[in-house]
C-alpha cells in the first residue's frame, strides 16, 4: 500500500507541470466535512467539491485533441505529445439550505478554457424553491439540461469513463444558462417522471482559428422529459437557440475590408447569375448571427450495481452550414468487478452537411479567394469522426478513483471540426490514439 501511495504521488507530481511547487507538507490535513446536525434547525451551510488531475498522451504530431470546443488552442492543449490541461479541473460548491423548501447554491469550476475568468468559471449560482413536492423553481445560473449528461460533464467522479464522449458532448457550446427553469415531478406505481422547462441566455467566448467568438445566445430554451424506473433512466430532450453576435471573420467576408465582400458581389448585377447565387448562398451559410440551432435527443442508462449501460442519440440542425451540426450517438458498456470497472465506448458523429464544393467559376473576379475561403470555412467546421474507447476505473478510496482510458479516433476528411489541426491535415483521413490517466476526487 505504501508503494501505491508513492506511485500516486509521483503521478500527481508529473501533473504539476511548470508549477513552482518546491515544498508540500504532505502531513497537512484539513477537514471539509458536511455540517453535522445535532439540533432541530435543519438549515446549514455546506462546502463541497470535486476535482480531476489528468495526463493525456497522443501519437499524432499535427492533430491536437480537445475535450470541448471551448478549450484553448494556444496553450498547452496544442502540444503535440502530451498535455495535463485537457481533462484537469476543480469544482467548488457552497450550498446553503435555508429550510426544507429553499436552497441557495454557488459553484465554480476551474478548467481549461480559452479565457479563464470569474464569469466563465462560475458554473452555477441559483436559488431552488419548492412550493410543493411536485414542483421546483430555480433561478439564476443553472446547468444546461438538454442531454443525459449535459449538466454533469465536469463531474468526472460521477461517471465511469475519463470524459463524456467527445463526439456527443465536445461540440455543445452551452454549459449553463442564465435564466430559470421549472421542474415537475410525478410518481407512478413503479416509476418517477420528470418534466423540466428551461429558458434563458448564455455567453461563452471560444476561439475559431485563433479569433474569438462571443457565442451569446438569444431565445435559448430546453424541454426534457425523463422517466426513472428502478435501475433504468430514459430521457428525451429538445432545445433551441439563436446566436446573438456575428463572428468578426465572417463580417469581414460579408461586407469587405478594403475589398469587395460577398454582399457587394451579390449586389453586382453585371456578374453572371451563378456567381451572384453562390455568393448569396455562402453569405447565408457562413454566418452565426441569427442562426437557429436545434437539438433533439434521446438517452437511456442502466446501472444494476454490476452492469453499466448508457447510450444516447441526437440530431442537431442549423440554418447555416458553418455551425457544426449533424447526427451523433454513443453506446457505453461497463462491468463492475469489486473496485474495478472495465468499460468500452463507441461514439460517432456524422456531419449534417455534405462537403461543400465550388459551384461557379470565380476566376475572373479579383475577389475569387472569397469563394475558396468561405467554402474552406464551411468544410473546416464539419465534424465527421468516430472513436472506440477502452478503459478501466479503479475506486481505490471512498472519495477518489483512478481511471485509465485509450481512445482510437478516426477523423474523416473534411470532418476535423472537433480537433485543432492544420488546414492541410483536415483534407485527409486521419487516425489518432489517445491515452489518458486521471484521478478523480470528491469531497
Amino acid at each position: 500500500m505504501k508503494q501505491l501511495k508513492y506511485l500516486i504521488f509521483a503521478f500527481i507530481l508529473l501533473n504539476l507541470n511548470g508549477l513552482n511547487l518546491i515544498w508540500i507538507n504532505l502531513n497537512a490535513k484539513f477537514e471539509i466535512e458536511p455540517t453535522r446536525l445535532y439540533a432541530d434547525d435543519l438549515s446549514e451551510l455546506k462546502i463541497s467539491g470535486y476535482g480531476t488531475i489528468s495526463t493525456s498522451f497522443d501519437d499524432r504530431q499535427f492533430i491536437k485533441p480537445a475535450r470541448d470546443i471551448g478549450q484553448s488552442s494556444s496553450r498547452g492543449i496544442y502540444r503535440t505529445d502530451w498535455t495535463t490541461l485537457m481533462d484537469s479541473r476543480l469544482g467548488l460548491q457552497a450550498h446553503y439550505r435555508a429550510n426544507q423548501d429553499l436552497d441557495f447554491v454557488v459553484q465554480g469550476v476551474l478548467r481549461d478554457q480559452a479565457y479563464v475568468t470569474f464569469k466563465n468559471s462560475l458554473e452555477s449560482a441559483y436559488f431552488a424553491f419548492r412550493p410543493d413536492s411536485w414542483i421546483e423553481l430555480r433561478g439564476g445560473r443553472i446547468g444546461y439540461d438538454a442531454f443525459l449528461m449535459s449538466d454533469t460533464r465536469n463531474l468526472g467522479y460521477a461517471y465511469s469513463w475519463v470524459r463524456p464522449p467527445i463526439e456527443f458532448y465536445g461540440w455543445i457550446p452551452i454549459f449553463h444558462i442564465d435564466g430559470a427553469d421549472t421542474t415537475f415531478r410525478l410518481n407512478g406505481e413503479d416509476s418517477q417522471w420528470r418534466l423540466r422547462l428551461q429558458a434563458g441566455e448564455q455567453g461563452l467566448i471560444f476561439p475559431i482559428n485563433s479569433v474569438d467568438f462571443d457565442s451569446s445566445t438569444t431565445g435559448l430554451h430546453a424541454i426534457t422529459i425523463s422517466r426513472q424506473s428502478g435501475n433504468i433512466v430514459l430521457k428525451a430532450g429538445y432545445s433551441k437557440f439563436s446566436f446573438k453576435n456575428e463572428f468578426e471573420l465572417f463580417s469581414n467576408l460579408h461586407s469587405g475590408e478594403g475589398y469587395r465582400g460577398l454582399e457587394q458581389i451579390m449586389a453586382d448585377s453585371t456578374l453572371p447569375p451563378e456567381i451572384i447565387e453562390e455568393a448569396r448562398y455562402l453569405h447565408d451559410n457562413v454566418t452565426f448571427k441569427g442562426v437557429n440551432v436545434t437539438y433533439i435527443t434521446f438517452g437511456a442508462s442502466y446501472d444494476d450495481g454490476d452492469w453499466i449501460l448508457q447510450a444516447e442519440i441526437a440530431q442537431s440542425t442549423s440554418t447555416a452550414e458553418v455551425f457544426s451540426h449533424g447526427k451523433m450517438g454513443y453506446a457505453a458498456l461497463g462491468y463492475r468487478i469489486r473496485d474495478f470497472t472495465p468499460y468500452f465506448i463507441y461514439s460517432a458523429i456524422r456531419a449534417g452537411n455534405d462537403v461543400r464544393q465550388p459551384l461557379a467559376d470565380w476566376s475572373a473576379l479579383e475577389e475569387s479567394w472569397l469563394q475558396s475561403q468561405s467554402i474552406g470555412i464551411i468544410n473546416t467546421t464539419r465534424m465527421d469522426q468516430e472513436t472506440l474507447s477502452l478503459g478501466v476505473r479503479w475506486d481505490f478510496h471512498l472519495q477518489a478513483a483512478l481511471k485509465f482510458q485509450l481512445d482510437n479516433t478516426h477523423y474523416h476528411s473534411n470532418g476535423h471540426g472537433l480537433v485543432f489541426c492544420s488546414e492541410d491535415t483536415l483534407l485527409n483521413d486521419n487516425r489518432m490514439t489517445l491515452g489518458t490517466i486521471s484521478m478523480e476526487v470528491m469531497f
Partner: protein, 154 residues
Amino acid sequence: MKISINFIHFIILLVYSSIYFSPSISFAESKEDIKEIAVIVNLENKIESLNSKQVSDIFLSRRRTFPSGKAVMVLEQERDGEIREKFFSLLNGMNLKRLNAYWTRLQFSGEIQPPPVMGDSTAMKNAVKNNINAIGYLPSQYVDESVRVILLLK
C-alpha cells in the same frame, strides 16, 4: 482574471492529501452494535409501512413524496459511516463508493442537494420525532416509542 491551470493541480493535491491520509470511515456506533437497521418516521405520519423499493427510491431522491403524496424530508447518517454503509447494503445493495458517485452527480448537477446529515442516532431520532415529514434510519436498539418503525432491515 487569468488563473493558471497549475493552480487546479495544486488545490487537488491538497484535497487529495487531506482525504487520502484521513481515516476514511469513522462512526459513532461500533460495527458490532449494528444488527438491524430501522427506518423511522414521525408518529403523526399515517404511513404504517413501506417496502424496500419505496424506501430506496426515497433515499436515492428518486421519489420525493410518501405514497400518500405528502412531501418527504430525508435525514441521513454520516456520509462515510458504518450505519449508512450497512443501511444501503441491506436496502438495495449499493456500497458507499457507488453511493458517493451517485450523489456526486445529483449534488453538483443541481438535481438535488444531499439530505441533512445527523450527528448521531440520537440526533436522528430527535429530528424525526420533531419533523412530521421526516424519514430516517438508525440501529434498531435506538428505537423507542417516540418514533414509528416502517421497515426493519436485517
